[in-house]
């Protein structure tokens, strides 16, 4: 892994171009006092939440993503960008073990969350998902009332007390900037909400279980620009309580909201004509877009590719 000497600008410039497949991030900070949450760190520093090391993901014998290594830090918004088919959603879903639901999916390499191997034999996917929530591309409210949608997570975690649930529902809907719009019709079916509202409901639903991390898979791609803006503002507001990883195909969105950005691309195997995703470059957002190190990154962010 990284050595502490690289914690200087000079050290940064010494990193050769061939290191683009590695984590170009700055090294770990010095020990943080236990129980203390880190203050908003300078870009790149902070408590590592996810450590992905040399990870490849297979569907059956098909290698969908190869050799990904990166670290995701606490209280930051990390964006995964790249052309379609580059594996960014696959990697995202690996972080909360949603790929388990796909028959034949297999993860090789290390994926750890706060120091614990996510794919260890005795790790429960259920427990993982209670800590690492997910918002999907197309809003998927349950065919229940708005209240029941948000209360679903807490209820399955054992909370039955009515007043406690009321409090959680209100808090989550406020965090999702939806409370004022629906507070008088919590009993109405969630299916009657507009696209933007439904997606905020899904975010409220995810926040209701107070996760540690929120993963978002192109959360605004099915929404109009105004609703998209609302979602982006929401992300920035909740950043200091959660860690957010977002997959997006919209580069401007990445520059608007994210602290660090990972650019994935597609490797085409000419003999077997298969496409495998891979991580190309990972850096603080201004650096990745302003001064990309890899030619592929340069081509993508300047619009010549993808």
């Amino acid at each position: 892994m990284e050595n502490p000497e690289q914690n200087t600008l000079a050290g940064l410039e010494a990193i050769p171009e061939s290191a683009t497949r590695q984590n170009v991030a700055l090294p770990e900070p010095a020990a943080i006092a236990e129980g203390e949450r880190a203050a908003q760190p300078a870009a790149g520093t902070g408590v590592p939440i996810f450590e992905v090391n040399g990870t490849s993901i297979y569907y059956g014998s098909f290698r969908a993503v190869t050799n990904v290594s990166l670290t995701i830090y606490e209280h930051q918004i990390t964006a995964f960008i790249g052309p379609s088919g580059c594996g960014k959603t696959t990697v995202l879903r690996t972080l909360n073990r949603m790929n388990d639901l796909v028959v034949g999916a297999r993860v090789e390499g290390d994926v750890s969350y706060r120091g614990e191997n996510l794919y260890a034999r005795n790790v429960s996917a259920i427990a993982v998902r209670r800590r690492i929530g997910m918002v999907f591309q197309k809003p998927n409210p349950f065919p229940k009332s708005i209240y029941d949608n948000v209360a679903y997570g807490p209820r399955i975690n054992g909370i039955r007390n009515k007043s406690e649930l009321n409090e959680i529902v209100e808090r989550s809907l406020r965090q999702a900037a939806l409370w004022d719009e629906v507070k008088n019709r919590l009993g109405n079916s969630a299916l009657g909400l507009s696209g933007g509202q439904a997606q905020r409901l899904c975010i409220a639903r995810t926040l209701a279980v107070e996760p540690d991390v929120v993963l978002m898979d192109e959360p605004a791609s099915a929404l109009d620009p105004i609703a998209t803006g609302a979602i982006e503002d929401l992300m920035k507001e909740i950043k200091d309580k959660y860690t957010i990883v977002i997959v997006t195909h919209n580069m401007q969105q990445a520059t608007r909201v994210s602290d660090r950005t990972a650019f994935f691309s597609v490797l085409i195997n000419p003999e077997s004509d298969t496409r495998t995703g891979t991580l190309v470059e990972y850096a603080p957002t201004e650096r990745l877009f302003g001064d990309p190190q890899d030619d592929r990154t340069k081509a993508y962010v300047t619009g010549r590719m993808g």
């Binding site: 770990e28 236990e34 203390e36 706060r114 260890a120 427990a127 975690n157």
Partner: protein, 326 residues
């Protein structure tokens, strides 16, 4: 990696369990319960086969292969059931011959001709046919339909007297309650299921093929012959076989209108008998050997319908799999 100090995450509402935990007992129990209910199907089918065969075993051992002779004489302890098997086959074949063209016609009407808005009412009407209980078909059949048919049969029989092929088929003896009447009523009863399955099968024809035919300037009928038929042949055969199986197993309506006379004859307007009708009508007063024979008829019926259903379902499934491109 281990220079990271672990900071406890906010505990998710209500849960302080560590990342690693065994699968909750309730979850595992539910899965086993669901699996158990699924296996129930297998268990019941096996039990049916085993217990009824057991009951019929004395008949099988006493008669041996003579069960396949036309020698039905309960009084003299003779239980050859060929007449019943013959009746089962004949009535089912009549039903299929009458019902399949009509069912296919309706299925094609619904998929190719009629705009979607009108298809729902038509489907409702066809489903109404299925809701009429078997015993009501039988009641109407024996009290109203059969007497009416008898007049028609008599006229036909008079007309074909002496004619080479038609005479033996449609000549005397003539009775309202007969093979043919049972066949017609069975046709009414199996039309809904053959129609609905044919519709499913025809729906698997790729739209591209149909459009290709139309794009060449084909009329609707030509498109059906050229694009729909080749694709749906196997599936339609399956649908027909399923109708055949249903027709063979229908009991009460047939019991009332078939005439209750175990005879093998080519005369379709003559009274006859078939396996389920025989069981239904005769079980009440039977005992001992007689009852074992009736049980045995049940076993035969079970085996025949299972075989037909397996072949039919296989044909329909193969057709469905083709659509998914497997």
């Amino acid at each position: 990696m281990s220079t990271v100090t672990r900071v406890d995450p906010a505990s998710p509402a209500g849960s302080t369990r560590p990342l690693s935990q065994r699968r909750p007992l309730g979850d595992r129990t539910f899965q086993l319960l669901a699996l158990g209910c699924g296996l129930l199907v297998l268990v019941i089918l096996v039990l049916i086969a085993v217990t009824t065969s057991q009951q019929a075993s004395s008949w099988f051992s006493n008669e041996g292969l003579k069960i396949f002779t036309n020698n039905w004489n309960p009084g003299a302890n003779q239980f050859g059931v060929l007449a019943f098997i013959y009746g089962t086959a004949i009535t089912a074949i009549i039903a299929v011959i009458l019902s399949v063209p009509v069912s296919l016609g309706i299925a094609l009407l619904l998929t190719e001709v009629v705009p979607y808005r009108w298809s729902r009412p038509i489907v409702y009407v066809v489903d109404l046919l299925a809701v009429v209980p078997s015993v009501v078909w039988g009641l109407w059949g024996i009290l109203v339909f059969a007497p009416w048919l008898q007049k028609i049969y008599t006229d036909i029989a008079g007309g074909v007297d002496g004619v080479p092929v038609l005479g033996p088929l449609f000549g005397q003896p003539v009775s309202g309650a007969s093979f043919f009447t049972a066949g017609i009523i069975l046709a009414f009863m199996i039309t809904p299921i053959v129609t609905s399955l044919s519709r499913e099968v025809i729906a698997t024809v790729p739209a591209i093929d149909k459009e290709g035919a139309y794009a060449l300037g084909a009329t609707r009928w030509e498109m059906i012959r050229g694009a729909v038929w080749p694709h749906s042949q196997a599936g339609v055969v399956g649908a027909v076989l399923l109708g055949l199986g249903r027709a063979m197993g229908e009991t009460i309506a047939v019991a009332l209108v078939i005439g209750s006379s175990p005879e093998i004859t080519s005369h379709l307007f003559a009274p006859g008998y078939n396996l389920p009708a025989g069981i239904a009508n005769l079980f009440g007063e039977a005992s001992g050997e007689f009852r074992a024979a009736l049980m045995g008829m049940g076993v035969l019926l079970f085996v025949i319908t299972i075989i037909i259903n397996v072949i039919a379902r296989g044909a329909v499934q193969r057709n469905a799999r083709r659509k998914r491109g497997a």
